[in-house]
């Protein structure tokens, strides 16, 4: 076994690091009113662009500094995590349900079902996803449910393509044939024999998709199209930081680190879960 493979197999440290960060961020988001040191919306022009705590001119209680309106960055990040996680879970699960179901049907039944579903996927793949999401939110109107719906609508194809291919592979296996000979119905076989074997991929994709949903939400709020303009969102903070980059770099750096850690954690967590669940790899 070469080193590269061993690295991929080394599940535990990555699982713990990724899971640890996600748990920390999730708990902070859930208990945001308790853990946030300041009101995330409170503006104070006396406190504008305070640097983070280790620099000269920092104020106690404003650990990561403040933005150009004097709002506490750490508190905004913690409250922004609420929206990020709600969107991540809801949008990923919605995309997963739609995409996996259609993928399973297309892959297992084949024929006309497959042809129609594959054609729809082709059409979806011809859209630039970010532009499609922006367009959908613009049409649906800003708001949490629009954002979730938009992400689910653009990204169900990711599940559909992978699960279709896997289900197609599974349906050619001997045990599926045996089950058919044993007299099980086609839907029964699909759920009892095929579905359990594609679950590891679904779980990994689900985790990956949560990371992607966080990014798309950040992009939408970056172009000022996500939730209302007042609510703190990670993308909103980044947009703010991009504007004041030469005056207050920390307003961009901290949300960026948060986003990178979150996205990396979701994808690593998914890989690790897949390795854990996959009967062949285990």
């Amino acid at each position: 076994m070469d080193k590269a493979r061993m690295w991929r197999r080394g599940v535990s440290p990555r699982l713990w690091l990724a899971g640890g960060w996600l748990l920390l961020a999730l708990l902070a988001a859930i208990f945001a009113p308790l853990v946030a040191p300041q009101d995330p919306l409170a503006q104070d022009l006396m406190l504008e662009r305070l640097p983070p705590f280790w620099l000269d001119g920092a104020e106690p209680g404003y650990w990561l500094g403040t933005d150009s309106l004097g709002r506490d960055l750490l508190s905004r990040l913690i409250f922004g995590g609420r929206i990020a996680f709600i969107v991540a879970f809801a949008a990923a699960i919605a995309a997963c349900l739609v995409g996996s179901t259609l993928g399973l049907i297309a892959g297992y039944f084949g024929g006309w079902a497959d042809r129609i579903i594959s054609r729809i996927v082709d059409i979806w793949m011809a859209f630039p996803p970010v532009l499609f999401a922006i367009l959908l939110v613009a049409v649906l109107g800003t708001g949490l449910s629009s954002v979730i719906l938009a992400i689910a609508i653009i990204d169900w194809t990711r599940f559909c393509r992978v699960i279709r291919a896997e289900a197609m592979g599974q349906s050619r296996m001997d045990y599926v044939e045996n089950a058919r000979i044993a007299g099980y119905g086609r839907i029964g076989i699909m759920l009892r024999e095929v579905l359990p074997n594609v679950v590891p991929s679904i779980v990994a994709l689900l985790s990956l998709e949560m990371g992607i949903a966080v990014i798309v939400e950040a992009i939408l709020s970056f172009v000022n199209l996500s939730i209302s303009a007042d609510d703190p969102t990670w993308g909103g903070i980044i947009a703010e930081g991009r504007l004041s980059i030469h005056q207050a770099w920390w307003v961009l750096v901290f949300p960026l680190i948060t986003l990178i850690l979150t996205v990396l954690s979701f994808s690593q967590f998914g890989e690790a879960l897949k390795a854990r669940f996959d009967p062949v790899l285990r």
Binding site: D2, K3, A4, W7, R8, R119, I120, D122, I123, M125, A126, F127, P128, P129, V130, L131, F132, I134, L135, L136, A138, V139, L140, G141, G211, I212, I215, A218, I219, F222, V223, N224, L225, I238, R242, I245, H246, W249, L252, V253, L256, L259, I260, V263, L264, S267, Q268
Partner: protein, 354 residues
């Protein structure tokens, strides 16, 4: 005895090859048209069936009912939705994408004015991705099983997990603020006098040998291009390295080593072409993702391309312009897929020779 073997080996297949390629092309062309039609339907439905009156969106506040009725008739909105769709589609087929509401110009003209900037950016990014991904894949395959390969794996894993949007921000911080060597906004320095006749500034500056302008354009283009290129480079690196490693165990590669070729020569001469075929198909799909990524990356770097205009169009609720841009993107995507498919058929000796 030997004569019998000869007969079995040589069968003229030339007409069959061309026929097969042509057939494949026509089938792909047909599916491509179906896909484009589907895209047109979806765009139309999203915009027209969505809540909100498109006419109300088009008109400035304070328009009278008479204005609204006139505009409705003008845009054919008093007809049924299916009729409206075909009226719109017949215009699109003739190249009439309508007039932009916010910019008050022909949509097609606006799109063609901006498309070159996006294409240049995407092509430069693609070239970078292929170069970075290819070199790291070859290096990783040559140094397989060593710390070098493990390092490449970790780097490509990180490059792949972080999307272009975040790479863009990281680059802005690193090379726009910390070590300000590149420009972080725009396409070209505004004070420069541009002699260009096409919108392909970068390529035209190369052709005109105006390398001062090339450098300025590159300074603006480099960071968005790198942001777009990194995830694709990682995918190319991983996939190509994997298939190289598989090919490197095959007998003809062993034979080449026996012949006296060095490992690098073996990889470049014997392994690369065969290993690159599976990567090529993937690069096609991934290139469309890269182009999709230009939308937000252009926004991030205030680069004056199609994607940046698209976001403005959405914010201004400029429906004809949005429709036009989305359709042009879709056309680009299906054309790329068609091109990759044909390239694959041409490069694969098994398909090429029967």
């Amino acid at each position: 005895m030997t004569a019998r073997i000869f007969h079995r080996e040589y069968e003229p297949r030339a007409p069959a090859k061309i026929y097969m390629l042509l057939q494949r092309f026509l089938i792909r062309l047909a599916t491509m048209l179906i896909t484009l039609f589907g895209v047109a339907v979806v765009v139309f439905v999203v915009i027209r069936v969505a809540p909100g009156d498109p006419i109300a969106m088009m008109l400035p506040p304070g328009a009278t009912d008479a204005d609204i009725a006139r505009l409705r008739a003008l845009y054919g909105l008093d007809k049924s939705i299916v009729e409206q769709f075909f009226i719109w589609l017949s215009g699109v087929v003739r190249g009439d994408f309508g007039t932009s509401i916010s910019l008050r110009q022909d949509v097609l003209g606006l799109v063609f004015n901006r498309l070159p900037a996006t294409l240049e950016l995407a092509i430069v990014a693609l070239v970078m991705a292929v170069a970075i991904g290819g070199v790291t894949a070859i290096l990783g395959a040559r140094e397989r099983g060593t710390a070098v390969e493990a390092g490449i794996d970790i780097a490509s894993g990180a490059a792949l997990s972080i999307p272009d949007f975040l790479w863009g921000l990281v680059l802005i911080l690193l090379f726009g603020v910390l070590v300000p060597i590149f420009d972080i906004s725009g396409r070209v320095s505004p004070q420069l006098d541009l002699p260009f006749v096409t919108q392909f500034y970068f390529f035209e500056s190369l052709l005109r040998l105006r390398f001062d302008l090339t450098w300025d354009l590159l300074k603006h283009m480099l960071m968005p291009a790198v942001a777009l290129a990194l995830p694709l480079a990682a995918i190319i690196s991983q996939l190509l390295k994997q298939s190289l490693k598989e090919v490197l165990d095959l007998d003809y590669v062993v034979l080449a080593r026996v012949k006296g070729f060095s490992e690098t020569q073996v990889i470049l001469r014997e392994a690369l072409k065969n290993a690159a075929l599976p990567t090529l198909t993937l690069v096609g799909v991934q290139f469309t993702f890269l182009i999709g990524g230009t939308v937000i990356v252009e926004r991030l770097f205030s680069y004056e391309g199609l994607g940046n205009m698209a976001i403005d169009a959405v914010i201004n609720r400029d429906l004809p312009l949005i429709q036009g841009i989305v359709l042009v993107f879709a056309l680009l995507f299906v054309l790329i897929n068609l091109a990759v498919d044909m390239m694959y058929a041409l490069l694969n000796p098994r398909l090429r020779h029967g």
